[in-house]
């Protein structure tokens, strides 16, 4: 299903502007992630698409050419996975998964068949007749997904579906969920504040900040061409290089760094993997800590910029703590972004 949002905004009673007017278009079968820090309006946007929240006047929500702005949630044919799963404790796994089908008044035999189909897909065989309270967190998560998918909704909306799980399980279920959503071939919108989750699951990511979509694009586009400093920091943990720009040079406390071009009124950011330890490099820094992480070393450096810089160093050995090293950054790896946009 194609989804078109026009001029969608939300002001809560009391004046909180949870979402500023936003336009968004999602293609059939596309998986879009809404990524942003806590309180930026992700859930509010998702809930307005679901019909659980009423947008401010002037908004238009169109599903496949049909205006559903004024339709209530029950009639929108959406599937929703909640952060707390919202599974019905008074029903078994089967009862939960079949509930949406029961609402569609399908014949018993068809409900049975479709519930079994989804149970198999979500690898819930053997749990069908259990009580919800007798399931682990990961199993509950899968029941929530199965329940949302069983009625074959036009669009699947997921609000931080993995955040109630512990870290190890979250990683595993993230890949599983990505796979399942592609198998279903469904249009999906996925809210998260974890960039890895967004990148692993989504075709496109909308990075949100303070009630606005700061940038929307493929994970690569966001990573390589962030539109604002906020996006660069949020996607790929870019660090600011705080110094004075003179022509096409950046004067840092630790030395002078060449820039790819003039950069007036801009901020310069760099990512950990682009900082090289290089005896011929133009910047001097002191090694504060060195952490070995298997695939690479994580080195915290002081003196180069006003704040601590983190370098990701791969190689067979690393400098020692307290040592003075020289650094270089390839000019084209620097992110030069307009100053003062959505901090």
């Amino acid at each position: 299903m194609t989804l078109t949002l026009t001029n969608i905004a939300k002001t809560f009673p009391g004046g909180v502007k949870a979402l500023l007017p936003t336009d968004l278009e999602i293609a059939k079968g596309e998986i879009v992630s809404l990524l942003g820090p806590s309180g930026c309006g992700k859930s509010t946007l998702l809930r307005m698409i679901a019909g659980l929240e009423t947008p401010d006047a002037g908004a238009k929500i169109v599903f496949d050419g049909k205006d559903v702005t004024r339709q209530s949630v029950e009639t929108r044919k959406i599937g929703m996975v909640f952060q707390s799963y919202a599974l019905f404790p008074n029903m078994s796994v089967r009862g939960n998964i079949g509930y949406g089908l029961k609402m569609q008044k399908l014949p018993k035999s068809e409900i049975e068949a479709r519930v079994n189909e989804v149970i198999a897909l979500c690898r819930l065989d053997g749990y069908a007749d259990r009580a919800i309270t007798a399931l682990s967190g990961g199993q509950r998560q899968r029941v929530a997904l199965a329940r949302a998918m069983a009625p074959r909704p036009h669009v699947l909306l997921l609000d931080e579906p993995l955040s109630a799980l512990d870290a190890a399980l979250r990683g595993q279920l993230r890949d599983e969920l990505a796979l399942l959503l592609r198998q279903f071939g469904i249009t999906a919108i996925f809210v998260t504040h974890d960039q890895n989750e967004a990148m692993a699951i989504a075709d496109r990511v909308a990075v949100m900040s303070q009630g606005e979509v700061a940038q929307i694009g493929t994970p690569e586009a966001l990573y390589r061409k962030p539109a604002t400093g906020f996006v660069a920091r949020f996607v790929g943990d870019a660090m600011p290089l705080e110094g004075r720009v003179e022509g096409d040079q950046l004067h840092l406390p630790g030395g002078i760094l060449p820039l790819p071009g003039p950069a007036a009124n801009s901020e310069v950011l760099v990512r950990a993997e682009d900082i090289r330890i290089d005896p011929q490099g133009p910047i001097t820094a002191r090694v504060e800590t060195v952490t070995f992480l298997g695939t690479h070393y994580r080195i915290a450096l002081s003196g180069a910029s006003d704040t601590l810089l983190i370098a990701r160093h791969s190689g067979l050995s690393a400098p020692r703590q307290g040592e003075t090293v020289r650094l270089s950054v390839a000019p084209e790896a620097l992110l030069i972004l307009p100053k003062g946009v959505a901090a």
Partner: protein, 263 residues
Amino acid sequence: MLKSITKSIPRIVTLLACAFLLIPIIQSVLAGLTVNYFRGLSSGLTLKWVARVLELYSGSILLSIWIALACLVVTLILGVPAAYALARNPGRASRVLEEFISLPLAIPGLALALALLQLYGTLQGFRTSWTFILVGHVLYTLPFMVRSVLSVLAAIDLKVLEEGAASLGAGPTRRFFDIVVPNALPGILAGALTVVTLSIGEFNLTWMLHTPYLKTLPVGLADSYASMRLEVASAYTLVFFVMIVPLLMAMQWASARAQRIMQ
């Protein structure tokens, strides 16, 4: 030695208190089963007095059961949706409303009865009908139903559960019966048993509202002590216990169960 004595003092006090409460009850029950109370147990045991009570007061017993069941139906119909509405709108207005519903708890049954008599006492058909007593009982028991259901509903995340059901296509009525009622069931059960127990045992208010032709179980008990021989009244006490004690026990059990679910 001394230690074991001091340790057993609380136990002895408890036992004495129990005896203090139980002995009159046992005595009364026994009185209802002896042939002649003044001659004591030596006169022999009999069910004659119990049979006499059932014969004389079966109307009262049936009326009480009937009013308790009617009261239950009315408090269910009014109380469960009211508790639901209060749980879904947790604002200042809801708290005020909750207090307002609970007001009859703080007012003595006597005052409540007088108010009802003043308001409706002149409506002849109503004043002499059992529904007049029913209204009093509903006023008195409704807060217990509302509170009991509300406390269970407040412990579950009702809003999210309902949103889940709505996203699956369930309208408000379906949600109420598929999600709200089943999940509130422990509270409804505890509330229902409380309502029935209170209605059957209620005396103050009922005594004011009753007419000679409409005596409930406790009003009949008072009547029997006032106008029958002691054995009959005592047998009545026995009948009363047999009806109310199992209800009280079931109520305790249901409340404990609801309490457990809320944790």
